[in-house]
């Protein structure tokens, strides 16, 4: 059977925005159930809250605690219409601006307030480049 296997090939895939920047992973897919027509994929959900629901209740609690610590507004979940998908390969390319997505706020806050304070994260001493890369990965989500 051909076609796109949603669980194996789409769920948890890396998302990149129109600038080819990593913006997180496909944490959930929203399907639209239509009368007399096959269900269609309506949207991609990205964000810690959705991911946490898949892990378990304790992770939902941890996510809420982190968000309140960061004084984050909203639930931090980005809903990307499946119409915005441009390419599905090793990564999924979507025609959105990653900087504008609410799902990246917590990661950006962590990168700015926590990761950057770790010795070496700003390129002090050895592992200058490696440290910077690690910071970038956290910021990428």
């Amino acid at each position: 059977m051909g076609g796109l296997r949603l669980v194996h090939e789409v769920l948890d895939s890396q998302l990149v925005d129109r600038r080819k920047e990593k913006i997180g992973r496909v944490d959930a897919l929203v399907l639209e159930l239509r009368d007399g027509e096959p269900p269609c994929v309506a949207a991609i959900l990205v964000g810690g809250a959705v991911r946490a629901e898949r892990v378990g209740r304790w992770m939902v609690w941890l996510n809420r605690a982190l968000r309140s610590l960061a004084r984050a507004r909203g639930d931090g979940v980005s809903r990307i219409s499946f119409d915005a998908v441009r390419r599905i390969a090793d990564t999924i390319e979507v025609d959105v601006d990653g900087e504008s997505l609410p799902s990246g706020r917590l990661e950006r806050w962590l990168a700015e307030k926590v990761v950057c304070r770790i010795p070496g994260a700003r390129g002090e001493g050895k592992g200058h480049e490696q440290g910077q890369q690690q910071g970038e990965h956290v910021g990428d989500g």
Partner: protein, 111 residues
Amino acid sequence: MSAREIRLGDLTGRVVRDPDGRSVGRIEELCAEIAPREGGNDYEVVVFHVGAYGAFEALAGGRFAQHALKRAGKLVGYQRYEVPWDWLDFSDPEHPRLTRRRSELTSRTSS
């Protein structure tokens, strides 16, 4: 999210029952195909993979258990059915129902 929208994760793992109320298996995979429409494309789910674990059905609730049971393959009597979208009734998405007889389904023993 509107009443007609559902998350993929809320469908996978759901037990599918036949018209007589007997368990056919659990939804494991959804296969989508591109359907052109005005102004773009839709990805439509055309086939659902439903996995049956025979006598081990009760143990197959979690993802880890499902993977382990699939590995065991024939030992646990694992079978996978490819169910066309219009053979499933999602009027109650928590309790999907097969609209045809189980004997009409195409079975594949490998995962």
